[in-house]
Symmetry: C2
Subunit: 228 residues, 2 copies
DNA sequence: ACAAAAGTGTTAAGAATACACCCATGT
DNA sequence: ACATGGGTGTATTCTTAACACTTTTGT
């Protein structure tokens, strides 16, 4: 914090990058853009951009996300800072530092204007070639949310307000990438007292309708016991 | 990542700050310096400083830690990036961004030269007035290590190579800030297979000598079951 | 002999796991 | 009536939690 550098101090380039996840048809998707300029022209990348002076990293994240993908941060259900990556050759102008965020939501639709750079959701299990170290960042974010849903109620951010127990279980299975036992899942999850039954039913095809549930709180809270 | 800014792009000030913890006499201590210049002249602060261009945040952390406290990062047993704080009024020259690190070790001795700014370890339960948002950063780091020792073997970083089960339990109690049951602690910890008995004994006063144990690995690994 | 910390085991309650059939609906 | 996903219970094993006395040593 002291004056290591006199007036000649020049900071590195500061960027932000954002990993937006959502579940579509029981698969896990991440929001990417196609790069229109070098470096990595034509490759896919996380939405992000420069962090200007006078702007917090969170503000830069919200601004770049909106500009590059049309996604409004206020429509996300959970946003948190992930990690700060130092990346060699991240930027042609030299060493850069990228503060990354993770955002989770439901029914997020990127805007398709041609000013925005072909934003779209890609299945996390079938990613295209990615610019920079963005593959690594996506894996890091995926690990984070995998572990986060084991000790918090973060799964709410990937579900609609009203949901069936089957949808809830599928959401867990999608993030974990493995199957869970139906009876044990229900018994355990209900014992955590995070959700309550509503009087509404979900009718969907030629079978018994499912009860719809709702989270008690739409804010992050720790679980009484860790999950799975 | 695209050119939001033309050539006129100016990044914010980038700094690093480091939270070094160690246990001394069964109490938890953090390394602080006394600020020699404004802002916050005379207040205590975490060691840190500017991140120069061309230098990674980790390099800046190692450099500033050595310069300001005489502590060599290589002497720490565990170092990890914590979080990146945007802090208003963090720096008189305007908005700044601080990447923070946490370091854990044993028998760390700050250098007392007068070039270094009176570095010293302070009991986390009796902190002096702190500059900036450093109190908040220390609490954040404390929470991180509290939770980290519940699902990893990170406690090794706060213990000597050879240690008794009582020392191990005391280390947990120090970080958690509460007491644990001796018999349950031993039974559970030994069942995790992280440590093994050595043939050496620790003699210390007029009572039965204690067996000394050693960690199987001095690297971070996840626990089979989460702890406490 | 005594003071001090090391070391040790059992019981009871709760949690995790494995596992298969009936229910309510639409067509 | 049948196909489809919704919904439910039990037995076993493992884990946690509560709890007090004996052992070994130095003085």
């Amino acid at each position: 914090m002291e004056d290591m550098y006199e007036d000649g101090y020049t900071p590195p380039i500061l960027t932000v990058d954002t990993v937006i996840f959502q579940i579509i048809d029981d698969e896990f998707y991440v929001l990417l853009i196609k790069r229109a300029a070098d470096p990595f022209k034509g490759a896919y990348a996380l939405p992000g951009g420069y962090n200007a002076i006078g702007e917090t990293t969170r503000e830069a994240m919200e601004r770049t996300l909106l500009t590059k993908t049309g996604v409004n941060c206020a429509d996300l259900r959970l946003v948190e800072q992930l990690y700060t990556f130092d990346t060699v050759a991240r930027d042609p102008r030299g060493h850069a530092v990228s503060v990354t965020y993770m955002g989770l939501g439901r029914d997020i639709v990127p805007a398709e204007s041609d000013k925005t750079q072909n934003p779209g959701f890609f299945n996390v299990r079938e990613l295209p070639e990615l610019a920079y170290d963005h593959k690594h960042i996506i894996e890091y974010a995926h690990d984070r949310i995998k572990s986060k849903i084991t000790y918090t109620n973060a799964i709410f951010s990937l579900l609609p307000e009203l949901f069936t127990l089957t949808q809830l279980q599928k959401a867990y299975e999608t993030v974990f990438g493995r199957e869970l036992d139906k009876r044990n899942f229900r018994k355990k999850f209900l014992s955590l007292n995070l959700i309550h039954e509503t009087s509404e039913l979900h009718r969907d095809g030629a079978h018994r309708p499912a009860k719809l549930y709702r989270f008690n709180k739409q804010e992050l809270e720790a679980l009484a016991r860790s999950f799975d």
